[in-house]
């Protein structure tokens, strides 16, 4: 494809709630052209596009981290309700909220004047009057915007002597099986409500009552939250009011090591940050990528880290011996299956569409050298998808019907789809990374499994005649690239080190070759 964009997935310099797609305005070289409007921020002059608010001008020039915010989020409509982002505009009688004040030509803005800092201190003091400050039990501690801004602007003391407000019924309320609400911590920024209204368009969160009693609740109490992007609520909630159940109390965030990778749960290929400690993954978070997933990722992808540490995952080569599979070394396994393969009348290798482009190309090139007369094909097998043409959007945001990551990329290596989705050779080698479907087969089909498999999957196979299992690496443990549904080629590097005896495709093939 000629219009392919190549992206290398890297850790972003700014965090998710600050990432924005706004770019500096192009200054026209033609002197006769109408000049761009200009605004002065902290003594520097910046060009902006008409319609920008002050915050967005700052975003264009990457100085937006100077302006604290709670309600503003670059991926959502503007609300202007928290008053944290106030700046001083010369000639304006009072402070202006930078997120919602449109920039005007010739405006002079100060983001750190004495008046501004005093106002921010005031806002912080008000937010903290009713905040429980239970940071020790709060999972957000360490990445909490309330903590950060209080450290920067907050008053050291409080004049509040009254009892703090407590929402009796929503201190630890499960909004769904994924998200828990602690209303006492909420700063009423309403990012979450705007997210369900404008981004997922499910409107499953509402703010009830007003003022002191303002309370967040699921629109349908019985059903709870039902959108497929609930994890995002917990990413951008500036405080620990909304927390993700799978991560709740699992780890303190400051212990986590962060590496960029890609989600392999559907053909969208959302960019993710893998948070791990000592090569154990604790969560995934999205990375802002304007072309692919913007700020979001779906819950299915977010929860997929659990499959990595699944205790039933096979992480060592297994060989059939006396009707059962036993752990062995790769050389022994390959030696034993090579014998079977040589005497077999026909052999085929089915590459799952969750393989990386490099793996698929490598297998296509090298496997015929290892096994003569091997037939190669690819197989998707998720949601009745056969080729990338069957892929379609499942909703208005990210989720795709094709639940493997690289159908396009595997197709481009020149492999053809498996006929009728059924294996027919005497021995079939199934290569997959834990995501592609399993083709149809006869009840006594001889199988060699390769890649990421779990014991449950092996138990569920129609055939019990498994000659061996070659354990492989899963997506975030390997290097490679995926071509997503929009034809964007995304490269990724390993985010964690594989802690088993699984091997990369290259090392398996070279071990196989050196047998002869």
């Amino acid at each position: 494809m000629s219009n392919t964009t190549e992206i290398e997935i890297k850790m972003p310099k700014v965090d998710l709630n600050y990432s924005s797609f706004k770019k500096p305005v192009q200054v026209s070289a033609d002197p006769a052209a109408k000049p761009n409007p200009k605004v002065t921020i902290d003594g520097k002059v910046y060009d902006f596009a008409p319609g920008d608010t002050i915050m967005q001008v700052a975003e264009r020039y990457k100085i937006h981290e100077e302006i604290p915010r709670y309600c503003y989020h670059p991926g959502m409509p503007i609300a202007g309700s928290c008053r944290m982002c106030t700046v001083e505009v010369e000639k304006a009688p009072k402070l202006m909220t930078s997120c919602s004040t449109p920039a005007a030509d010739g405006m002079v803005v100060h983001t750190r004047s004495e008046k501004v800092v005093k106002s921010r201190t005031g806002v912080m003091e008000f937010l903290l009057t009713n905040h429980p400050l239970d940071c020790p039990v709060c999972d957000k501690a360490g990445e909490c915007e309330l903590q950060d801004y209080n450290f920067e602007y907050g008053p050291m003391t409080s004049n509040f002597k009254e009892e703090k407000r407590v929402y009796e019924d929503s201190t630890t309320k499960k909004l769904s099986d994924k998200v828990t609400l602690n209303m006492n911590r909420c700063v009423h920024c309403e990012r979450c409500v705007r997210f369900t209204d404008d981004v997922t368009k499910t409107s499953d969160l509402v703010m009830l009552n007003r003022g002191y009693k303002k309370e967040l609740a699921a629109a349908d109490e019985e059903r709870g939250l039902f959108n497929d992007y609930q994890g995002c609520l917990t990413d951008f909630c500036p405080v620990g009011a909304l927390t993700y159940n799978d991560f709740r109390f699992e780890k303190r965030v400051w212990f986590l090591e962060k590496k960029a990778s890609i989600c392999d749960r559907c053909s969208k290929g959302c960019n993710i940050e893998v948070h791990s400690e000592k090569d154990v993954v604790y969560r995934y978070m999205p990375i802002f990528n304007e072309q692919v997933n913007q700020h979001w990722m779906c819950d299915e992808g977010r929860s997929s880290y659990q499959s990595l540490s699944n205790p039933l995952r096979i992480i060592s080569p297994l060989m059939k011996y006396q009707d059962a599979l036993h752990s062995t070394s790769i050389e022994t396994l390959l030696g034993s299956i090579s014998k079977e393969l040589q005497s077999a009348s026909s052999v085929e290798l089915v590459v799952g569409t969750d393989a990386t482009c490099e793996e698929a190309a490598y297998l296509k090139e090298k496997m015929p050298e290892v096994i003569k007369n091997i037939r190669l094909s690819y197989y998707n097998g998720t949601n009745n998808v056969t080729t990338s043409k069957d892929d379609q959007k499942l909703d208005n945001l990210l989720r795709m019907k094709d639940k493997t990551a690289n159908t396009k990329g595997v197709e481009e290596t020149g492999l053809t789809a498996l006929k009728n989705g059924e294996v027919s050779s005497e021995i079939a080698i199934l290569f997959r990374s834990g995501r592609a479907g399993i083709p149809k087969m006869k009840a006594d089909q001889k199988l060699i499994l390769w890649g990421v498999w779990t014991q449950e999957e092996i138990k569920a196979l129609p055939s019990k005649n498994i000659l061996g299992v070659i354990a492989g690496l899963s997506t975030i443990e390997k290097i490679g690239s995926f071509k997503n549904t929009d034809g964007i080629l995304q490269k990724f590097a390993p985010a964690i080190v594989h802690r088993g005896n699984g091997l990369s495709v290259k090392s398996v093939v070279s071990a196989w070759k050196s047998l002869k």
Partner: protein, 166 residues
């Protein structure tokens, strides 16, 4: 890391050690004679007699409990984070909702809390960091154990009754 060799110049008295031995023996004999003739004891009959150490002495750790015998620790990991010897190991968990009279205040609990006293340097940073005044160093200085495993204090041991600071 390599070895660093340091050579020093010694004076003649230092080389023979005799003067140093003489000073040492002088103190020994002084104490001996004091003990014999003046009955002045310089040692105590431990363990029957004990010294009263300062209130600020830092000895064996404990975790304070509330009136329901629930530990005050909320598994915030601050002590684990601050500990310079990296000898605190915590696993956090959610407290059983039905057996938690304190509600949200104690919704998080340590599932396990181990202190490896063999690594601990008794700096007291953990006590200082704890926002709940849960972990404390008692004045108990009798830390001898018979196996290495006993030197790893688990949650049940840490929750033992300690009056005041012990």
């Amino acid at each position: 890391m390599g070895t660093v060799n340091i050579s020093r110049k010694y004076t003649a008295t230092q080389k023979t050690y005799l003067w140093a031995i003489f000073i040492g023996m002088k103190i020994t004999f002084k104490r001996l004679l004091q003990g014999f003739f003046l009955r002045k004891n310089n040692t105590i009959q431990y363990p029957e007699e004990r010294r009263d150490y300062s209130q600020r002495f830092r000895g064996m750790h404990f975790i304070s409990v509330d009136k329901n015998k629930t530990e005050n620790c909320t598994a915030c990991y601050l002590c684990q984070t601050v500990c310079p010897a990296e000898c605190i190991h915590i696993i956090a968990d959610e407290r059983d909702e039905d057996n938690n009279p304190d509600g949200v205040k104690k919704e998080k609990r340590p599932l396990s809390f181990d202190i490896d006293a063999l690594r601990c340097c008794f700096c007291g940073f953990c006590e200082e960091a704890c926002p709940k005044d849960a972990i404390k160093l008692s004045r108990n200085y009798e830390l001898a154990v018979t196996t290495r495993d006993d030197a790893i204090y688990d949650l049940d041991f840490l929750k033992r009754d300690v009056k005041g600071r012990g």
